[in-house]
Symmetry: C2
Subunit: 346 residues, 2 copies
DNA sequence: GTTAGCACTCAAGGCTTTAGAGTGCTAACG
DNA sequence: CGTTAGCACTCTAAAGCCTTGAGTGCTAAC
């Protein structure tokens, strides 16, 4: 675990930069020429050998150029990286798009996914903000037919759930309004556990009302169970252009991972540990656990209001990705989404 | 345009079947051996030559096997095809999954997309059912903070829209309830045009109420503009396994098309013309218009209640797809979705 | 510590060869 | 006349071979 010299750090940075740019193993001569280094290729060769020895770089085959290893990327991102902030005009452009977008969390999330995929030229992954514990904000009951009821549940954090119910007694909209009013008085701001307890110690308000409370609770349980909400994805076609996905088998594995929503949700829910970079975290190679994305990195941040409702936004691409651009982009978009969440939920 | 003989039809069917199975150009000897034909390969060769002459088949290169042309597939699907209905148990399994699924159109659509992608081993495309003309079923106003209002709009056909509003005056939930009640009395069952006219001839009910009506109208307009609703997609990774997508450029073009929601919506909205097969339609090669999917077919059906709310469900895959299985599958799922729509909206 | 020089390695791309599947045509057969 | 066996011909895909060139490690001199 010996320290690297300054020069070695510089060279490691250059190798990462060059490899990200060209996707080809980078050699000593090339490096000297391209970056006008003031020492010779032989010197660089010695340093490369040292970096390879220390496992920051590897060679695809004997006597080829060098490629950063996972360890190399980790070191680069955690220390050497120089962020390339988004240009002012790009920021304005993005903010403008949000200001014009159809209102509502759903639309914002899709917009964020689309913008991120575009900026990073990779797959973007955005999960909806979810109340950390699901609390009821408002219940609304709507009579669809005489024996059919639509329950709309507005939860803190702006999320909504709907359920259809079939009941045995005929109910008018007026009667439903009354029930809804009662429920709102009792349940507003409560979570599933509190509601369950309250409801147990309550005299029955009639068959239908009981049925409604039962359905409401079930809906809350469902919501609680889904720890990370809906996950939106964009930019799949972008990443197929990358050489690491020209092998369609490789591409399939990555896309399979994206379709496995539970896996993805579980993975995103871990967004807290791992190294942090100004709120943005980077997972390399599926954290060693998910071999479907062993060659990919995920740059991800949590957005929203801590303790109220949070979601995640990130970009998934080959490990050879432009971290110095993607990290600021994710950070910026997470900030925008956070503002939108707190505007609409406090 | 001379008629084909019976034998030619049989042979065309076999070529399609074999090519769908193997993805390799199929030759005369192979055909005779595999299907135990009681005439010789030379005879088959003559027939193949005739079919090629008539443009039902083509040769990738001189003296290779035959491959069905678009015309060949069209003819096969419109006349020769023998449907392979879903086995009883598969149907039950699917119905069971729907009965257990989280209620609500959203969930059903995703489930249908997932099942279809799985059954067809291709990309499934499902659009949400949309009222042919958007009519209001119910308006609900919810006070989020004292100057912020959430409007929930339930439309006929089960669709929902939500909007946040910022207003200048402080409004209590009680006041909002009153306004909502008035709006429901006036607007229930009306579409945007009718509401616009009604609202114009109305005395003002106060600043906030006017603002709410304006927002409601805008929301309706937005909804009207989106002719085909949200489109869900599943099974992208499945199709990458097909040899026609091993060229990643080809795959990218197809996926690009899927990301172009407007294109896709526009295309799905054409589901009415073209050849019909028991309610299911088949588009070959993007109908000549969309060259991004020139090598793909789309098997698609409209579901829902005619004149009330309809959506589309379909499967997109290489033109070399298992039509005899996919068509019944799409038909079956469209039926299930139709039942669900009519259950929840009549 | 740095650098020039040199022999060596090895993938990538181009070229050639080979094998085999498939064709079209002709002539014979019932 | 439709069907079939036989045969010469075509053309791809796969395998093998060669060449090229970027890149290396090592050594010896600066």
């Amino acid at each position: 675990m010996s320290e690297l010299t300054e020069r070695q750090k510089v060279i490691l940075s250059l190798v990462v930069h060059e490899y990200v740019r060209t996707a080809n193993p980078v050699g000593s001569k090339n490096l000297v020429k391209h970056y006008h280094l003031d020492y010779s290729s032989a010197t660089v060769r010695n340093e490369l050998a040292a970096l390879t020895e220390a496992q920051y770089l590897s060679q695809p085959y004997t006597s080829a150029g060098r490629v950063p290893t996972e360890k190399g990327y980790r070191f680069f991102v955690s220390g050497l990286i120089q962020m390339r902030e988004l240009p002012e005009e790009t920021r304005h452009m993005i903010e403008h798009q949000f200001s014009q977008a159809q209102q509502g969390m759903d639309g914002w999330i899709k917009l964020a996914a689309s913008i991120l995929a575009d900026q990073a030229n990779a797959i973007s992954v955005v999960s909806a903000p979810l109340p950390n514990r699901t609390r009821v904000k408002y219940v609304s009951l709507i009579s669809i037919t005489s024996k059919q009821i639509l329950m709309i549940l507005v939860l803190e954090g702006g999320q909504m759930q709907q359920r259809f119910m079939f009941v045995n007694e005929t109910m008018t909209q007026g009667q439903l309004n009354e029930i809804a009013e009662t429920l709102n008085r009792m349940f507003e701001g409560r979570n599933s556990e509190e509601i369950r307890v309250t409801a147990k110690h309550l005299p029955s308000m009639g068959n239908v009302a009981d049925e409604i409370v039962r359905t409401l609770l079930n809906t809350l349980y469902d919501t609680d169970a889904l720890q990370t909400g809906e996950v939106y994805t964009d930019g799949i076609n972008k990443v197929l252009a990358e050489p690491e996905f020209s092998d369609s088998e490789e591409a399939r594995r990555t896309l399979r991972f994206l379709d496995e929503k539970p896996l993805l949700q579980n993975f995103l829910s871990k967004t807290t540990r791992e190294q942090k970079v100004g709120g943005v975290q980077v997972f390399f190679g599926g954290d060693g656990l998910l071999k479907d994305i062993a060659n990919c990195s995920l740059v991800v941040a949590r957005y929203g209001m801590q303790g109220v409702a949070t979601g995640t936004i990130g970009v998934l691409g080959p490990m050879r990705m432009a971290y110095s651009k993607n990290i600021p982009t994710v950070r910026f978009l997470a900030g925008i989404l956070s503002d939108l969440v707190s505007d609409s939920s406090q």
